[in-house]
Each structure stands twice: as C-alpha cells, then as structure tokens.
Amino acid sequence: MKRLSAIALLLLACTPFACAQTSGQTFYTYASLTHANGEEIFHAICQGCHMPDAKGAIGAGAYPALTGNPKLASPQYMAAVILFGRHDMPSFVMKPSDHKNFFEDAKLSDAQIADVINYVRTHLGNHYINSITAAEVTAMHPQYMATKP
C-alpha cells in the first residue's frame, strides 16, 4: 500500500470496483516481515490455509482448524509444526539459505513464532492461559542450529 502512488490511489478510488471494499492490508517484504507481530503474521500468512476464521477447510485434503482444535493445548506442538513444517506445510524457521530460489518461503524468528502461537491460543475462539516464550522455541531447534554461533 505504501508503494502505491497518491495518483494511482486517487484514480482507483473512482472505479466502482475499488469503491466496493478497501483491502486495508499491508504487503510485507522479506525485510519488513521481521517487524510483524503474531496477529499480523496470522492474517498475512496463516489464514491463507487455515482461513480467516481459523476454521480450516476441507477439499480433497484438509487444512486443520486453529480454533477448538485439541492439539492447540500444546504450544510446543504448534512450535514444532511451524519450525519443521508438516506434510505440505513448509518450515518457517530462519535458516541460512545457500541458494535463493524464486519460491523462497517466508521466515519467522523464534520470537515471532512464539508470538503467533500465543496470539492464536488466546484469540479466534481459543482461551488458553499458558503461553510459550521465544527462548522455549529456540530450545526446540535441531542440534545443528543450536550449536551455530
């Protein structure tokens, strides 16, 4: 949105299509994503598959709901899924990438992973009291990551 010139905005405001609804969403770059909090990450990334209401979806396969799902009782389980990926879901861990490819995945810091877990577990119909810290997420990294300076 911030890249959009004032003129283009003005012109677009005149088309019936643009008047119907404003998206109001910021586009993150790989750099600016590092400043996103848990709530922002959920809406920018997670809801693509888990849906805006966190109810998941069912087609030929399914995306699990992130509301009323007993697996959410364990923030460590959630952290493991985000860190290591699961089935078609990619890993979101920050890892040194030796080759940049055009479908490079989004990367989240341990603090962001903790924050998005804590957001999901206290919103979207979930009311968990306990939380997870960035340090606890860090402790779950595989050995090769933990020993890196």
Binding site: T15, P52, A57, D88, F103
Partner: protein, 535 residues
C-alpha cells in the same frame, strides 16, 4: 610477480563479474539445476507395452496429465483402466478459466469469471518449452493446435519501484546499455594490455571485433549515442517517411545508473533453458490438453470422486471413495494395480499401506505457494498505446509479472492479461486475501507500470494454489536434501502401488515432469506384469 598476478586475476574477476549477470544468472541457474528445474526431458517416444496378459486391471487416482497419460497408454496396451477424479473436469492443474466458468476455492470463496468470449487465463501451467517432447507429442496425437508463446519481448518492461523513480524501462534499453557498457570496458581492458596474460594478441583482435558487434560499439570501441546504439536501444525519434523522416539518436544510460537500478537482474530469464525460444501454448488455453485427454477417456474417468483410503494386499488394491456431491456414503473400487497421482499435499493425509520409507517420502515434501491473477481490460492498451505484443514485464512489486497475451494480436475487443504471478512471501499474502482483494491489489500495483489500468480495468479472477481444493498447493518443493533422502523411495513400485505426477520427477511444476513420470511408472509396472504378475 605474485603481486602482479594477483592484480591481473582481480581485473579478470572484476570483468567476469561485469560480463556475468554471472552472479545473478549463473547462480540462479545452478540453484535451479539443483532443484531439478533445468533438466531436459528424456522422452524418446511413448513406451511400447506389448505382451500383457488379458484382463489385468489398473486403478488410476487423479485425472491430471500424469493420470490420463497412464490411462491412455495402458488402455491402448490392453489393460482395464479406471480413473477416479476429485474435480468435475479433467486436467487437474492443466486448467483454463474462461468467461462463464465458476471456481470455488477452499473457504467457500466463489468467483464467476466474466471474461469475454474467447478470452482466458491459465491458472496453472501456461507455456511449453520446445524440448518438452513428451507433452508436445501428446498434443500432436490429440490434435491440439499450438501457437507461439512469447517469453521475451524487447519492448516490454523491467521495473523496480526504487529504480529510475519507479518509471518502467524497456527491456531493449536496459539490455543494450548493459551490454554496451560491458563491451566497452572489456575493449578498453584489452587495448590497455590488461588481458595479455590471458588472451593472445591474435585472439585479442578477434575479441575486439566481437565486442564491437556484441555491444554495438562505435569505431573507437565506445558505447555512445549514435546509430549503432540507437539501433539496439531505440531512437529518441524513430526513422519515418517524408519531410520528418530523419531519426534522432537516443542517449544511452550511464553504466552506474544501469548497475544500481538492478534491472539487469531481469535480463536473463529468456536465456534459461526452459524459457528459450521457441515456446508454445495450446490455442484456446492450456486446458485444451486436459480437455482432449478427458474426451478420449470419457468412458473410464469417474468425476466428483474423493479418495478416502488406499489399501493393498497380495491380491490387489482397494480404494475407498465417496461422491463429493453426496459425502458420507463410501464406495470401493478394486484393481490389480494402482497408479496414484494425487499430489503429496493430499496423499499425505490419506491412509495408504505402503512401505515405511515411501510413506515417509509422501509426508516429507512441502508445497510451494503461487498465485495467478487474470485481468480483463476494455481494450488492448498495452498494444495500442505501448506497442507491447505478448511477452513479459518483470517487476519487484508483489505481482512480480505482467504477461501480455500471446494470441489475438491487434484485436479490437477487450483483452485479458496475466496481471500477477506471485510466489514466495508475496504469494502467501495474496493467498490470505479474498479473491476480490487479490484482484484489487493486482490492479493497484499494475497501475504503477500501466496507468491505463485505472481507466480500462473491467474484471478479474485470482487463483491461489494453496486454496485449490484439489491440490492444496502449487507443486512439490524438493531440495537437494529431500531428494537424497526420499526421491528414490517415492518412485518405487511398492507392492501393487506406484506414484506418478510432477512430484515424482526432476521437472517439478512442469507438465513434462507429470507426463514422463507416468510413462516411466507404467513401463515398470508393465515389466512386472509381463514377468509374472506377482507384486
């Protein structure tokens, strides 16, 4: 001596770096090769499957290209084939959205495509390299007319929001100026004897000749305003007829401006093996291929069928499935063999009794995010106003790509272009939006390159592959590590079950990968059948 050698080496390295695009292009090529992207098809004709005993049955899961190629060839070889397909249409990711089509993605968001008659967008594959011989062969067998797909267009744009004040630059201009300046630098280095240690005097003369031609240098080996440069980068005022005929030369950009713009990073796409001329597209949309296969296999494809479980024993394979329009009522299909082309994103969720290594492989490969957005405009302004006929504009905006239609050139009616082809983080974020918001974003961002968007936009559709009910993702993202660990295990004939699809190939995301994996797997199953039928 050593110091001088080091200095020479530095010079050469610097020059190579400049010549290179080397950094961007070669590194990217190496990465792509590792991912399997740059591999050529090994196709040498459809396999001759002779000598199968009568009555052997094969159940094929998925009516995408892999499944339908397998069904087509096995049926021709005398096998009894049946295909189960989740969608109500053949093709899978081979798919074209046309006016009148409706598409409901996961989450229940429905789009009604309102394109004019004959206009379309390919949400999935959209170009066929000339060396994808297997796919081309099936297009010929099925009488699918092809037309050229324009990849490189010198009059399309390279654009970055932070380069040249956000003003898009013609590919032609950046290409000519980048090459011209490099040629001049290399010519200077040659003339100043800085290459004497590496290049003989005779070769230096040839090198200078070639640099003059390659870089459009003048008689003094300079890249400067003049007819040579204008003939590459374009004129300030092009030659015409009559009194105002005389052309005016344009002024090349400075090397510094070309380099710091980083627009050179968009120069090499068309040199990658997959994008080298000639490329093709089926007339009427890529979906014509799936549609043609579907027609051939009309009697054996069962649509609207969701696979629930896959079970094998010594005698055969039993697949539980249900009608997507009447869920809850499970039916079964049985066969001697099963070829499963269901994407791993979905197969990893379906109970299947295969070996532990294969099961592990099925669950190990994440799927890439990708979004494509088709926009209809009231007129073909890119042609009428800007002289852009087909080809691709590259931008660092989240839409990444604008591709102008390679068909219907110079037409008077409306036109549909690919208004966005996003991957990575951009695709995740577009996926997370409603289809309407994706279209709106594509119009907003595209307006920075084509201000006509605001006036001419008509309607659009947006497909986010992670929300596609039949794939849950775009394609399998193999890495070196994943391939080393799982690829062999994934591609085995496990008892009576074998997998096929782009995910079982070194041509990920390409239709050729799906086709060649199917041909490979039917050949191996046929060998087992002929050898005695026991799994």
């Amino acid at each position: 001596m050593q110091g001088e050698d080091a200095k020479l080496a530095m010079t050469r390295r610097d020059l190579l770096r400049l010549i290179g695009v080397s950094a961007g292009g070669a590194a990217m090529y190496a990465a792509m090769h590792r991912m399997g992207f740059a591999a050529e098809s090994p196709y040498r004709g459809a396999p001759a499957l002779q000598g199968a005993p009568p009555g052997i049955s094969v159940l094929i899961l998925g009516a995408g290209l892999a499944g339908m190629v397998a069904a087509y060839e096995l049926r021709a070889a005398g096998y009894q084939v049946q295909v189960l397909e989740y969608n109500a249409r053949p093709g899978g990711r081979n798919w074209t959205l046309r006016g009148g089509d409706s598409y409901t993605e996961l989450g229940g968001f429905t789009q009604h495509c309102q394109f004019d008659r004959g206009l379309y967008i390919n949400p999935g594959p959209w170009r066929i390299p000339y060396h994808h011989r297997a796919l081309l062969d099936y297009c010929k067998k099925l009488d699918i007319p092809l037309e050229p797909f324009v990849q490189v267009n010198y009059n399309a744009y390279l654009h970055r929001a932070d380069a040249f004040g956000g003003k898009p630059q013609r590919y032609r201009t950046i290409n000519a100026d980048y090459r011209g300046h490099i040629a001049e630098l290399l010519a200077k280095a040659t003339q100043q004897s800085k290459l004497d240690a590496q290049v003989s005097k005779d070769d230096q003369a040839l090198l200078l000749d070639s640099l003059r031609q390659w870089g459009a240098l003048d008689k003094n080996y300079a890249y400067a305003a003049g007819p040579m440069a204008s003939n590459r980068r374009g004129y300030a005022k092009p030659p015409g007829g009559g009194l105002s005929a005389k052309p005016l030369d344009s002024q090349p950009l400075q090397l510094h401006d070309v380099l710091t713009s980083r627009l050179w990073s968009g120069l090499t796409d068309g040199e990658i093996l997959e994008f080298q001329t000639t490329l093709f597209q089926p007339v009427g949309g890529m979906g014509r291929i799936g549609e043609a296969f579907g027609k051939q296999l009309k009697e054996v494809i069962r649509y609207n069928t969701k696979v629930i479980a896959i079970h094998q024993d010594d005698h055969g394979v039993t697949v539980s499935h249900e009608d997507t329009r009447h869920p809850g009522h499970t039916q079964t299909a049985q066969a001697d063999w099963c070829i499963c082309t269901i994407p791993l994103s979905i197969l990893s969720q379906i109970p299947i009794n295969v070996s532990a290594p294969m099961a592990e492989a099925i669950g190990a490969v994440p799927y890439a995010a990708s979004v494509k957005i088709g926009l209809q405009f009231k007129r073909r302004f890119w042609e009428e106003d800007e002289g852009i006929y087909g080809g691709i504009t590259l931008t660092d905006l989240p839409i990444n790509t604008i591709s102008y239609p390679s068909t219907g050139f110079n037409g008077k009616g409306k036109g549909v272009l690919l208004g966005g082809y996003a991957y990575g983080l951009d695709a995740y974020q577009l996926t997370a939006m409603t289809p309407e918001a994706r279209v709106r974003k594509a119009v907003e961002y595209g307006s920075q390159i084509h201000p006509q968007y605001a006036q001419e936009f008509d309607n659009g559709v947006a497909v986010a592959w992670h929300r596609a009910p039949f794939t849950l993702g775009c394609f399998a993202t193999w890495t070196d590590e994943l391939r080393d660990k799982h690829y062999q295990n994934l591609c085995q004939v496990d008892g009576r079950i074998a997998l096929a699809g782009e995910h079982a190939s070194y041509l990920p995301a390409w239709q050729e990968g799906a086709v060649t994996s199917a041909l490979d797997v039917i050949t191996r199953i046929h060998q087992r059948v002929v050898a005695g039928g026991a799994a």
